[in-house]
Amino acid sequence: MTAAALATLVPNSTWYLLLAAVLFGIGAFGLLVRRNPLVMFMCVELMLNAVNLSFVAFAVRFGDIAGQTAVFFVLVVAAAEVVVGLGIIVSIMRRRPGATADDLAELRG
């Protein structure tokens, strides 16, 4: 492909959806592999962002703003989720410093 042909190549929604799929896969892999609860939480955020990206790509493709409204709600719920999740992690770590996800297999304090 020549440089002139490359210059006229415009990314369409399929590209964004593929990128979102890759981002979601990386997030899922990290969630399964990492043992630090905080880093696992960050991987959940990666997956949420992948979904946000595909929501916006579909909103542009369909010409329907409702997809972007959905992203707005995902942002709000993600913020609330992070607050609650970090609160739980703080109260767990206070009881058992240095706990990993494997140490939390039983619910007993």
Binding site: L6, A7, V10, P11, S13, Y16, L17, L18, L19, A21, V22, L23, F24, G25, I26, G27, A28, F29, G30, L32, V33, R35, N36, L38, V39, M42, E45, L46, N49, N52, L53, V56, A57, A59, V60, R61, G63, D64, I65, A66, Q68, T69, F72, L75, V76, V77, A78, A79, A80, E81, V82, V83, L86, G87, I88, I89, V90, S91, M93, D102
Partner: protein, 178 residues
């Protein structure tokens, strides 16, 4: 030009995501997350979702990652984690299979349906700006969900305060009062 923006922002997104997964220090992982979030914000701008790009930077990169960093500092877990420990023997290969499988399945679906998905009109064809369209949708069709969001935020804040409050030792002779 669009292509250059897409490639650079995608490189940011992928590099940051890989950083979150492979960095041993949680602080570095949080910084990788910032890189990814900024890359996604650039993509939002490229897709002309300007309001969401601004909110992405303010809420995600500004508030959520700062919250992560605060908790990391508060708990003192900012030491490197030994990534060579693998508690379940075949966990990592299986996780790689799950991750790669997700990417391949979704990618195949996206590529195969790239011409069959309906294509709508331009979003800003009516002449309204992105934020005006979003506001009209949010405060008319989705107004109930918007109101419920306030309930969610109040519940989340109250619940977190309850969860993280240090429990006071109850006095021995407290009578019957609660």
């Amino acid at each position: 030009m669009d292509l250059v923006v897409f490639v650079l922002a995608s490189a940011m997104v992928i590099a940051g995501a890989l950083g979150v997964v492979v960095f041993r220090n949680p602080v570095h992982a949080a910084l990788g997350l910032v890189l990814t979030l900024f890359g996604v914000a650039v993509h939002f701008v490229a897709m002309e979702a300007h309001f969401l790009a601004a909110v992405q930077v303010i809420v995600y990169a500004g508030a959520i990652v700062v919250l992560f960093l605060f908790v990391i500092m508060l708990l003192g877990v900012d030491r490197a984690e030994d990534l060579s420990i693998e508690p379940i023997p075949i966990q990592r290969p299986l996780a790689a299979v799950v991750g790669a499988g997700t990417v391949v399945l979704v990618g195949t679906a996206v590529v195969r349906t790239r011409d069959t998905i309906a294509r709508g009109p331009e979003l800003e064809a009516s002449g309204d700006s992105n934020i005006r369209l979003l506001a009209r949708n949010l405060f008319s069709d989705q107004v109930l969900a918007f109101e419920l969001t306030s309930v969610l935020l109040i519940v989340a804040v109250a619940g977190t305060v309850l969860l993280t409050r240090k429990q006071k030792r109850r006095p021995e002779h407290d009578g019957g009062g609660s």
